[in-house]
Amino acid sequence: MMLAHALTRAARGLLLGLVLATAAAATASAAPKVGGTLTFGLPTDLTKVDPHKSSAFVDTTILSHVVEPLVTYSKKLEIRPLLAESWKFSDDYKTLTMTLVAGKTFHNGREMVADDVVWSFKRLLDPETKNPKRNLFENIADVVALDAHTVRFDLNKSQPGFLHVLANANPIPAILPKESVDANGEITKLVGTGPFQFTEWKQGQYVLLKRYPQYKSPAGPKDGLAGDRTPYLDEIRMVPMTEENVAVMALVNKEIDVLQYFPAKYVEKYKKQYSKEGIVLTEVPGMSWYQVFFGLNQPVTSNPDFRKAVAYSLDLGTITRAAYMEHAEANPSVIPSQSGYYTEAHTTWPARNLAKAKEYLKKAGYAGEKVVIDTTKNYAPMYKQAIAVQSQMAEVGINAEVNVLEWPVLLKKLYGKDFQMLSFGIGPKPDPVDAYQYLNLTGAFETYPEIKSLLDQANATDDTEKRRVLFEKIHLATVDTVPWVEFYNYNYLNAFRDYVKGYETLSIGVPVLWGVWLEK
Amino acid sequence: MYPVLKIDNLQTHFHTRTGVAKAIDVVSFEIGKGEIVCVVGESGCGKSMTALSVLRLVPHPGRIVGGEIWLDGENLMAFSESEMRAVRGDRVSMIFQEPMVSLNPAFTIGNQLIEAVRIHRRVSRTEARERAIAMLRRVELPAPEARMDAYPHELSGGMRQRVMIAEALLLDPALLLADEPTTALDVTVQAQVLEVMVRAARESGTAIMMITHNLAVVSEIADRVVVMYAGRVVEQGTAEEIFTRPAHPYTRGLLRAIPSLPLGDDDGPRQPLYEMGGLVPSLTDLPPGCAFCPRCPEAFAPCDRERPPGFALGSTHAAACWLHRQEAER
């Protein structure tokens, strides 16, 4: 049952080599220079200025430079201090007491204090705020300001992983000053504590950020979103480049300095041409994960033997290449290879075996019934992988049909558990507990209570070793029951002009523009 | 002295996908100064095409393929396009059948009249305007000043045709081509309009080539008559000759088809309205002999084989019919 992973491993080695080479080039240059404007090409426009109301990842990309949460992630996705300099859990993990950094100011000049933390979390929890991810914070019973620089979180249930909630990237549980909202409770001009100030948003044109000169950075070297966060750039212009071909032209024309998502189809052209024209390409393994869900309550797909047959009919490498060419890593687990929880056990998955697939089909009593794979073209990989899955299933005689839906309709079917197979993709979840929650969308918690109980145990401890063992068990349980088939994590292809120094993207997909300077 | 118009062996053909349509097979006739010549015949016989050929405005895909057209002794076929433009509207003007569609609906009467003057005369707008108003007065259009600012659709059919007449005679042309100018009009105004046209033309010494199939009109105004059939002239003569001594069976047929005309020597009881049997031959496939032969009640030996030339029956009268070979040879 061991997956032959050698090929993709080799590919990954090569790719990391590419990243390291450019990283070395970046560090080799001289000391940072203050000043200049950087134009940054985003895939879409900002959707909302209010981080408490946002659910779009593009908002995180922009707003993480303006607002700050209490704690944040290192490059290796460990929790690090940001607005809170230290903290302490009660033994039952039901109370968290945090000490805030003193002398930290909002962009309006006022010092950030414990009352702002209380106000911000109450706002995140207030149904009137219409926070789409309110459920993330529902375990918070109360937030209390003990003194100007100390706050206490009281939780309903024990939650050792609560710090991940506070470090959440999307939406950012940002600490905002209450004077930044108007009479309607709306934020029109965002005021934060981050290294850059929100200056202007022209819808569909640009978001302008300016350096916050009084910014007080946490100590230590830059490490992911943590450590040194000193801004060097005077201005950042974030421009939406909705059309990927035009985005590449804009980079070649030096109209933008950084392109956040470089289209994979242009990599060959990059190697032949752009690399000689002062453009640098980096490829960072990412943590987004793509899969097909099975409806455990539906005809045909409720049969585990049928799902096993599907698992044996699929070759993850082929599906991965169909969706992302060489720029994704096949991975049968929700835990990405760069995570601390990733172990050999997570490579376990049935390798493609047509004979076995047919054997399981017979066992399942499959008689050529039609099986529908729901997907959408709004996100190309979801569609491409669905097509690959369909053709591989056809090879063992499964009569599968791809049903293309509009994104909101696909979501509706997902939440309604109204699908046999559903092709999907999910953004980075640094804590595997959050990732495994998605099993519930297939109905696996009801059908396989043992998986739910393993997950509850993992949720109840912050002992890394214990959690590692539990996650292995959960993964192996998914191998046995096949509620989903995980395919891959894709890489972030970032391209920028060679005069942009110190730029990097994290594996959770957030680009970091503090610590970046221009060498023109 | 030259005749105003001399058409000599004119041939105008339409080159279509189905073959060559001989709209004007061969036509010759003359119009003298100030003379009113009526060209009669059924529709499709080439009357209107003769008028358009004179202006060299034969529409696509038609083309003048032979013959000459002489205006006051000058061969129009030798004229360049710009020389032709100088002729059109100045020395030769034309009135069309449908005043509803021959005036441009998008411009005022004044605009179109002033334009007609200023194409050919270097005069100021005011001068052109005055000239136009004077002309409108001559054709008895009521309130001519106010009409200048009216659009064609605001005028009745009779008034529109008066405007057309005024425009055609604005520059005292030598020749007026009038293509069934009253056919589309209300019967009650036909006579008035005709009278206005003839009087105005006489005043300016303009000769008229009047195309019509209305023989009642012909009998009233024509000095001479040209009868056409299937692209050819079958008979021509003075009005008197044609009406009293029609020589061609076709002409006789035409005359008999008219209800209210006294038919010369025919004093007997009124005959039932005569209808000519048969069909006009296809212009793409004319018979080798006389084109009228298939319909002719008097056809005999040579008619279906040989084309009759024009036989002179007098100094002004001629007919293209084998019946008159002996007469002509005497």
């Binding site: 789409p132 709306e186 819808q203 | 100088a86 509207g89 021959s102 441009n104």
Partner: protein, 313 residues
Amino acid sequence: MLAYLLKRIVLMVPTLLLVALMVFLLVHFIPGDPAIVMVGGDATPEALEQVRRSLGLDQPQPVQFVTWFGHVVTGDLGRSIGTGIPVFETICERFPTTFVLTTLAMLFSVALAVPSGVLAAKFRNTGKDYLFMLVSLLGVSLPGFWLGLMALLVFSVQLGWFPSSGYVPIWQDPIAGLRYMTLPSITLGFFMAAVVARMTRSSMLEVMRLEYVTHARAKGLTEWSVLLKHALKNAFAPTLTTIGIQYGMLLGGAVVTETVFGLPGLGRFVVTAIYSRDYPAVQGCILFIALVYMFVNLAVDVLYKAFDPRVKY
């Protein structure tokens, strides 16, 4: 004339009411709702229900319609669920761009298409005519998306004449603004021109068969005067209607052009709003677009009389 205008404007009110109802029904008829898009693929069914409640989507649809329409009547189009910004503010910010783009494109297309149509008609059924019509066939059938990209590749990347991205409103800086607007309005105008040229050609041919054209020639006018004065003015009236329809349609948003050239127009916003089921945004924008369309129609009808005096109000 004034009475006619007033009458037409008054008649817009019931039309708008109908449009409002239709838009509401259509938008609510398509499956999926804004709450589901807001929470994305990340929520529990309970959380989804909560968001739905907070947006008032749990109310019966007639109630939702009355609430929304009640606000619309007082001039309040509501806030976009997607951006949290009042819909009217977004329209005011984005419509001018679409307006300038479409207007420039229209001017360009008329300047290109009317002469082409006239020439094609003049040289009807000759090589020149076929060439004109082939080009206009290309204009109609080439995808605007591809055309836009090619224009950028040639004039922006190869020649460097125009920027490939970015935007400055023309009313802030006419020179720079025009630089950003040139390629998009030419691309869009080329598409419009194709349709307008075909219309011009066919109505020219129609008109040139009429007797007043022969009459104009018989007056001694040159062929050009006949074409450009007598034929064109008459042929332009139906062309004007075509231009009006296209202009009105594209004012609703030239989505493809706006996307390729990254212009912050209304079209892109509406499409995003439809995809995210942003009910207030879609409803507000479509209502506004319908109103604009009605005014364009009115303008066409008024202008029509200038070319065809036979029209009566």
